[in-house]
Amino acid sequence: MRPNPSTVLSWGTIAALLLLWYGVTTLGLVQPTVLPSPVDLLREFQALVRQGYAQKPLAEHLVSSLARTFIGLGLGLLVGIPLGLAMGAHRPLFAVLSPIFAFMRPIPPIAFIPLMILYFGIGEFSKVFLIFMAALWYVVLNASAGVRSVPQDLVRAAQNLGLTSAQIFRHVIFWAALPHVLTGVKTATAVSWAIVVAAELIAAQAGLGFLVMDAATFFRVPDVYIGIIIIGLIGLTLEVITRALERSLLHWQGR
């Protein structure tokens, strides 16, 4: 199979950047305290894996961040998907709740971090709660928009075939709204990961955000870079997983 020319070009960019990085650092054009060389990073990474960071194994930092994300996001989806679908189907409920969501949505969730700390302290609850709220906004808004955009003919076709309202909701409206719901899930996942890192930067004892912030405070520049790279790779993995989920659930769209 011939490789796709665009893929080749993209890998070329990655290779060129790595080479440039390696070049400027080994030639001494940049101070290692500002930008460590890839070789130094690799060595430091091995040390981190062996010794951990701040008396905790690297895996523990990773798991802390992921656990906060998944608990907050999971609760957000669990509450948000049914709530959004119900809001889309039920006009009065939408009228009552939509002002709250419309007001909250444009506020970056990170702006609530100080308030969360004030109310709930710097423990796990404030972080998980923040992620829960952010995930909830995105999922509710997308799910309710999805229900409201279901073509009238589809609902009428089902009524015409003799389905009850409950059957129509479950077997027609839910599926027709699913693409919107999954867009919400995708956005909520990406946002949750961004928020957990931000929350950990400000107040945490473990987690990748904590690692990056703490390493910067003690001028451990390689650790800062390693933390950022791991955060990026996990973000990318989450995106790949949600996209694969979307593709398999929506295969009938034929895209």
């Binding site: 009428r156 015409n160 003799g162 009938w252």
Partner: protein, 257 residues
């Protein structure tokens, strides 16, 4: 003999969309009667209330005046006894052809042993065998409308309602679908009410046709189409067909603003 569908003095007035506007009268004093096993076409200029008429008979909407009776009983709500074929394919795109076709009987709790053979026969009759496990996105426009037709007919409806069912298809596909409809109709011979703006389609398919006036829609005249069954596409090339088409077109032009 009671008519299968009977409309008496049916009117429909829609409340204004915006404050300060006048209410819109879509239909006014419509009287029509359709007998069992009859194919009737309703023709009219666009905006004359044809689709409103169909929505009323389907039970999606209530008339503001007059009465609609099916088999002598007043209408209460939508149901599979009056199966509707939409202009848009309106298929459930997350389901296969087979699942779309059996959607109604399955959720009404019919035993599969009854509806599966029916579905299989109809799928074969419209030439979709081999496509049962494909999804709507994999089908052409004409095939989607055939799926819709089978999804309606599998309920063995007393009445088949069609809203410009071939309006979105190209001319060749449309002609082929019209022939196919007549073939499939022979299987069960349901009463058909077809709403269209295509004069040729109305004459080719129907036993009788009604022409509506421009909005508010009223019956301008009714006409018995004299051509015997079985009809084939060759009929549309005959002089008699052309003469009838011209006279109906002329009366429709009078209704154009």
């Amino acid at each position: 003999m009671t008519a299968r569908i009977e409309l008496q003095g049916v009117g429909k007035v829609f409340p204004p969309l915006h404050r300060g506007q006048a209410p819109v009268t879509a239909l006014e004093d419509v009287n029509l009667a359709i007998a069992e096993r009859e194919i009737v076409a309703v023709l009219g200029p666009s905006g004359c209330g044809k689709t409103t008429l169909l929505n009323l008979i389907a039970g999606f909407d209530q008339p503001t005046s007059g009465s609609i009776r099916v088999d002598g009983r007043p209408l209460t709500r939508p149901g599979p006894d009056r199966s509707l074929v939409f202009q848009s394919p309106a298929l459930f795109s997350w389901l296969t052809v087979q699942e779309n076709v059996t959607f109604g009987p399955r959720f009404r709790g019919e035993p599969p042993a009854e509806y599966l053979p029916r579905a299989r026969d109809l799928i074969r009759a419209v030439g979709l065998d081999g496509w049962e496990h494909h999804y709507p996105y994999q089908l052409s426009g004409g095939m989607r409308q055939r799926v819709q037709l089978v999804r309606a007919l599998v309920n063995r409806p007393a009445v088949l309602l069609m809203d410009e069912p071939f309006g979105a298809l190209d001319a060749q596909t449309r002609a082929r679908m019209q022939e196919l409809l007549l073939q499939v109709w022979e299987l069960d011979r349901p009463t058909v009410l077809l709403v269209t703006h295509d004069v040729e389609e109305a004459i080719f398919l129907s036993h009788r046709l009604y022409v509506l006036t421009r909005a508010p829609g009223r019956v301008k005249f009714a006409l018995t189409v004299p051509f015997a069954a079985p009809r084939s596409l060759a009929l549309t090339g005959s002089a008699e067909f052309a003469a009838l088409k011209y006279s109906v077109l002329k009366s429709l032009w009078e209704e154009m603003p």
